[in-house]
Amino acid sequence: MNEVPLTHILFVSTALFFIGMYGLFTRRNMITMLMSIELLLNSVNINFVAFNKYLYPDKLDGVFFAVFIITIAAAEAAVAIAIIINLYRSHKSIDVEDAAQLKW
């Protein structure tokens, strides 16, 4: 079986990245936005793993980075959901447009 070329994997990760960005900018629901951010992070993870495998097969630096990012993403999700819950308690809404008080 032929190996999948690197460009294919990069294509997938780029697609994933822009889908995430699209979701982040268009959705008003904060849970959805959080999900979009996860997509962004995972596209980066794919890049890290792919480059590690294709460019430096004898090293594991990229894989470690991916593991770190997953860990941090978990923590970030916990914090973000906590913020969203608090926001819901005070605003009775998780629409991002309703939470625009922090401005000039």
Binding site: M21, V96, A99, A100, L102, K103, W104
Partner: protein, 649 residues
């Protein structure tokens, strides 16, 4: 004899009292502050007398000449290897004479105030201010450096300001204190410039060095200062004139005298101390301190003479018409200081020529006693009558016999009747004037006659005039306080004794221009004219004011415009007001205010407006919308990516 051990204590004891009472007085020493201040000052007085005794009779003299001794000197600010501001002590005949006057009169005033200010709410504050004044004045007379004297000069100005405005809930007192401060401050500007001129050309600020350099004929400094000129007048003349302006402001010389009558708003003992005996003679002291340099320049001496003589005469004329007893005394002070000034002006520096100098210092000495006695007596009268106006008084001689007697002694002294102190000193001045300038002698004689007249007008109006005692205000619990407490009577008696005795001090042997004794004795034939004329003036005053009658009013009416002008103090105050309010305010004040409001404020406001407008424009970026922030963020990343990939080579 080592002076160092205790001479510093003389000014520092009052300073310690000032700090103690100023900080803790109102809380902890409300009742005892008077005793504390008086005790410390009594110690200071004893030390002053000891110093003076040592100086004059033990070790001040070398080869029959009194030396200028500098027992203590500490360099405070070094400007260049030669010029420095020092803090030091200079002992010479006039400074040791002054420390005795200052500490002694201040002590008398402290004691008097124990009774006079009793029950006053700010009793401790009053004593702390008095201590501050005494400290500054002692520091002033002991200064060894011209800049040091300037600092203490300002300090006495401040303490005078604080004490004039002591009753700060009275608008007139506040106005008077401001007036005194501003007028003297204005004059001090001249003093400062004068110091800078003398210091620049003399190359030093130290009194002894300065005097030495500017009086020895061949010194490069003297040649420098006399050849340099500005507007056609030599820098020596400029410097000395400016210094004299400072002295004239402090000594209330015409035309800078306007603050002195108003300064009478302060408590009466303060007037006795500051505005009669000590601070106002600081100007005379300053001229005397720099006298060797003044005597190098006849032009300045002429200015001193004429300012002094005109002040003496004008003040004496005005004093004849005033009805406020403290104001009469204030003008009398001004007149007597004018006496001292012109005596300095007509004096020469050495030998028998220095009679004017010696007479001036002698008069300063005796004047301190009898004038503070007059003020304290007036204070006792005011304490009883609760009014400053002569019209409310009269017939008080039976009610207050001690005050009456001591006041009479002081009046006789100031009128120059032998054997009281004023006679001796005044004769010396008149004699000196007679030998150098007959016209000044005439003015002096006329002033002496007027002095006798207005003092006895005052005396008769207070103590005789009405047959019955005036209706005194009844104060609960004070039915028998006719003369005040013992602490008020005692200073009067002591000062009266001094007034009688001070004239017999052999002053010509002790205080002279160059330290050598003078061989002057009183000329009996010469003294006949002044004494006779003064006696006539006293008789005239007695004829007019001893009983209540219509004569003074008739004379006043017949004098017409002249009387009115005199009663209004020759409209000098009005002239000042016109100049300041109409001319200075309109020509300088208003344009300056316009520039400040429109140009200076305009710049600052414009800057603020520009910042505000810009912020308003860019603040919309911070919208609070998370997604737009994210958009900016990604846009920024994309922009940086483009720059790094394609443009960064």
């Amino acid at each position: 004899m080592n002076y160092q051990l205790y001479i510093l204590l003389i000014p520092l004891l009052p300073f310690a009292t000032f700090v103690l009472l100023g900080i803790f007085g109102r809380r902890y020493f409300k009742k005892s502050s008077g005793i504390i201040g008086t005790t410390a000052l009594a110690a200071s007085t004893v030390l002053s007398v000891m110093t003076t005794y040592n100086y004059f009779f033990v070790d001040g003299k070398v080869n029959g000449i009194y030396q200028k001794i500098v027992p203590l000197k500490y360099t405070w600010l070094q400007f260049s290897p030669n010029v420095s501001i020092d803090m030091g002590v200079l002992l010479d005949p006039i400074s040791v004479m002054m420390i005795v006057i200052v500490s002694f009169v201040s002590l008398m005033v402290h004691v008097f105030s124990l009774g006079y200010m009793k029950g006053e709410n700010r009793f401790a504050t009053y004593y702390s201010f008095l201590s501050l004044f005494t400290f500054s004045m002692l520091g002033l007379v002991l200064s060894s450096n011209i800049f040091q004297i300037y600092m203490f000069w300002e300090l006495v100005g401040v303490s005078s300001y604080l004490l004039i405005g002591f009753y700060f809930d009275k608008p007139s007192a506040v106005a008077a204190s401001k007036k005194a401060f501003i007028v003297t401050r204005f004059a001090d500007l001249g003093f400062l410039i004068g110091i800078l001129i003398l210091g620049f050309y003399g190359g030093t600020l130290d009194f002894n060095t300065l005097t030495e350099r500017l009086t020895s004929a061949q010194s490069p400094q003297l040649i420098g200062i006399t050849t340099a000129s500005f507007l056609g007048v030599s820098m020596l003349t400029w410097g000395l004139t400016l210094v004299f302006i400072g002295g004239a402001g402090k000594s209330a010389m015409f035309p800078l005298h306007i603050w002195l009558p108003d300064a009478m708003e302060g408590p009466t003992p303060v007037s006795a101390l500051i505005h009669a005996a000590t601070m106002v003679v600081a100007g005379v002291f300053l001229v005397a301190r720099l006298f060797p340099i003044f005597s190098m320049d006849p032009v300045v001496l002429n200015i001193v003479t004429w300012v002094g003589a005109s002040s003496a005469l004008i003040a004496a004329i005005i004093a004849c018409t005033q009805t406020d007893i403290k104001r009469v005394l204030a003008f009398s002070t001004m007149s007597q200081i004018g006496y001292m000034m012109f005596a300095l002006g007509i004096s020469g520096n050495g030998g028998e020529e220095g009679l004017g100098y010696m007479g001036s210092m002698f008069h300063l000495f005796t004047h301190a006693f009898f004038k503070s006695l007059l003020f304290l007596g007036a204070g006792a009268v005011i304490h009883l009558v609760h009014s400053n106006d002569m019209k409310d008084m009269g017939g008080l001689r039976k009610l207050m016999p001690i005050t009456h007697l001591t006041f009479l002694i002081a009046c006789l002294a100031i009128a120059g009747i032998p054997p009281f102190a004023g006679f001796f000193s005044k004769e010396e001045i008149l004699l000196a004037a007679f030998h150098s300038n007959t016209f000044v002698y005439g003015i002096g004689l006329l002033t002496a006659v007027l002095t006798a007249f207005y003092m006895f007008r005052l005396y008769f109006s207070i103590f005789w005039n009405k047959t019955s005692s005036p209706a005194l205000p009844k104060v609960e619990g004070f039915e028998h306080h006719n003369e005040g407490t013992l602490s008020m009577k005692l200073p009067l008696i002591i000062l009266a004794v001094c007034t009688v005795g001070a004239g017999f001090i052999p002053f010509s042997k002790l205080v002279t221009a160059n330290g050598t004794p003078l061989q002057t004795q009183l000329d009996v034939m010469f003294s006949i004219a002044p004494v006779l004329l003064s006696t006539l003036a006293i008789l005239l005053a007695a004829w007019l004011y001893k009983t209540e009658n219509e004569k003074p009013a008739i004379i006043a009416v017949s004098m017409g415009a002249f009387y009115n002008a005199t009663a209004k103090k020759f409209y000098i105050d009005e002239l000042y007001l016109f100049v300041t309010k109409k001319i200075i305010f309109n020509l300088i004040g208003r344009p300056a205010a316009w520039i400040d409001r429109n140009i200076i404020d305009g710049c600052v406001n414009g800057l603020a407006n520009v910042t505000g407008t810009t912020s308003n424009i860019i603040k919309v970026v911070q919208s609070g919308k998370v997604q737009s922030y994210a958009l900016y963020f990604f846009g920024g990343i994309a922009g940086l990516a483009i720059i790094f990939i394609y443009l960064w080579k």
